[in-house]
């Protein structure tokens, strides 16, 4: 029992509620939201050290013992993601202070942002599948409002599609939960894992696992990503960046959690399907990224490629592949926020979206240009930066599992990602400069959060030694299900 575990959910919810009361005081909103994300950051670091020393931390809400009550479980994998989430959230908030505009701030931008963070953190921490659904919904409702906040024509049109897709996938999620409950009689992840290990994962159970896979794929943008490019292009930069960094990652986290802890008995069916879907996602995403000549489109298709690549590591179901997935997941959270903020800054400064109309920005904004260059290399996984390590491990994992086609597609699409992102760099930053010195506004304040994230991606690459011990603990927890089960159910002798 550790009361710290609930705080990453409670802090943003309560801060958000307090903000709704003081709705006129925007300065207070900014201060409180920054304080909330920074305190979650502190708690995540604290909890990570506790997990390192004492093992997985749990909290049984209200003192109800594990399979009967609601349990919160903080294992290293979840805490690493919460740490990355709070870093990215802080940077996006600082960026939003200057770009989001008075209108949106007055209509509860900051409370909604914090509710989104609460939903994301809740999804990472929850220990039973129904609360996973509830936290998903908290996150999604906040995202529905954030995506339509401002009410431009484009936003309204895209948000209708986004909401419709997510409402249907939520219904399917409930259907899957209902079937799972009918077959196993429990909802707690640890208890589910025990029950399925006892009764064996038969064909019917594998079918239910496919239903879960469909639901999480819709949220993660794994193969079923048709809704993603449109809806991530609609909202303003700060919101699009936090969406790209976090929303798909929650789906990926759920896939990893369900298919390493609960449905791990039939990898030749479930994990192979994940692998095929990941390969298709990478190919289609890369084609999209190369085909468009519009900054937002290229970036959104890069989100899709990232999802496919992370799940290629999961599909291999080897320690190396999973290690790569965890590294790449953390890297992807940071670098997707970074690249979206950079792309948004280019659009914000020039007021243009099409690559053909932008050129020669490097003379006016040298630091922006070089940061874009670093982000592009990091996105493609060039050695000293953060994407490299994950890419190595995922490729190794897919090769040891015998999925050579999957690893090969991963490496090939990395090249296409590099090409697509370099296309933005070359056409926006090189060439003839149309603008005079001082004609466009200065990006000084905007560069601060971008610089922070750039430093993060360099630090994650050069200082991989520092986080490797935490990642190793996370992988140990993912590969050995009994660690998780013991931590949750160990206190209850009646199971």
């Amino acid at each position: 029992m550790n009361n710290l575990v609930i705080l990453p959910i409670v802090i943003p919810v309560i801060t958000g509620m307090v903000m709704v009361i003081f709705r006129r005081d925007i300065k207070l909103h900014r201060l409180l939201s920054l304080a909330a994300t920074l305190s979650i950051l502190g708690i995540a670091i604290l909890l990570m050290n506790q997990i390192n020393a004492l093992g997985i931390q749990t909290l049984q809400l209200g003192g109800w013992e594990a399979p009967f009550g609601v349990s919160m479980v903080a294992d290293m994998f979840a805490m690493l993601l919460i740490l990355a989430t709070s870093v990215v959230a802080t940077c996006c908030l600082i960026y939003a202070f200057q770009t989001i505009g008075k209108e949106r701030e007055n209509f509860y931008f900051y409370p909604l942002f914090l509710f989104l963070i609460a939903g994301v953190n809740g999804s990472f921490l929850t220990g039973d599948i129904f609360n996973l659904f509830v936290c998903f919904e908290v996150m999604l409702v906040a995202s529905y409002v954030l995506i339509s906040l401002g009410g431009t024509k484009l936003q309204l049109r895209e948000s209708i599609k986004y909401i419709l897709v997510n409402v249907i996938s939520s219904s399917l999620f409930l259907v899957a939960i209902a079937y799972l409950y009918a077959m196993t009689g429990t909802l707690n992840f640890a208890h589910l894992s025990l029950r399925i290990a006892e009764m064996g994962q038969d064909g019917l159970m594998t079918t239910v696992s496919f239903l879960f896979l469909i639901v999480f794929s819709l949220k993660a943008g794994l193969f079923l990503f048709f809704w993603l490019p449109g809806s991530y292009g609609a909202p303003p930069t700060a919101i699009a960046a936090i969406f790209a960094a976090l929303l798909t990652k929650v789906g990926i986290y759920s896939i990893i959690r369900m298919f390493t802890l609960v449905f791990y008995h039939e990898p030749q069916a479930t994990h192979l399907l994940i692998g095929i879907m990941a390969a298709a996602t990478m190919i289609l995403g890369a084609i999209g990224a190369v085909a468009y000549a519009d900054i937002k489109r290229i970036l959104t298709y890069n989100v899709v490629v990232g999802v496919g690549f992370i799940l290629a590591g999961v599909a291999s179901f080897t320690p190396a592949g999973l290690t790569g997935s965890v590294y790449y997941l953390i890297h992807d959270i940071v670098v997707k926020a970074l690249i979206f903020l950079l792309g948004g800054t280019i659009i914000h400064l020039t007021g243009k979206n099409k690559l053909k109309e932008i050129s020669g920005l490097i003379r006016l904004y040298p630091s922006l240009g070089w940061m874009f260059f670093i982000a592009a290399l990091s996105l493609a996984g060039i050695p000293p930066l953060s994407g490299f390590l994950g890419k190595i491990f995922i490729t190794e994992g897919t090769f040891t599992a015998g999925y050579f086609w999957l690893g090969g597609i991963g490496l090939f699409t990395s090249l296409m990602v590099l090409y697509s992102i370099m296309k933005i760099f070359m056409s926006a930053f090189w060439g003839y400069t149309d603008y005079e010195e001082g004609e466009l506004e200065s990006p000084k304040g905007l560069l601060f959060p971008i610089g922070l994230l750039t430093l993060m991606t360099i630090a994650l690459g050069l200082g991989a030694q520092g986080i490797s011990q935490y990642v190793d603990v996370a992988i140990e927890g993912l590969m050995n299900t009994h660690l998780y089960i013991d931590a949750v159910l160990g206190l209850n002798p009646r199971i």
């Binding site: 129904f130 409702v141 024509k153 049109r157 909401i163 249907i168 219904s171 209902a178």
Partner: protein, 112 residues
Amino acid sequence: METLMSILVGVLFAIGLYLILTKSLLRIILGTSIVGHAVNLLIMTMGGLKKGGPPLLGLKNQTFTDPLPQALLLTAIVINFAITALFIVLCYRAYIVLGTDDTEQLRGNEHE
């Protein structure tokens, strides 16, 4: 009873999906709402329907009705209600701003 409920769930799903596939936004909202009801009934059926006594430990019932699906249902109903309300407001706003509730005409173009 379970068989009857399963058929009802199937019928509700069919109606809901038919409505979701139509062009008018209002029909789509109604469709999502009906699918939501179908899902709620499904959860109820999956937990087992009327088996006998109330789920109280003191009564020593062997054939009690499982209370957990009903607790899940309450949460699901609340969430479904909130999202339907939000969706209706959003579609109304979209109708005002875009001037149409026909999904065919909502596609728009690149130049906006």
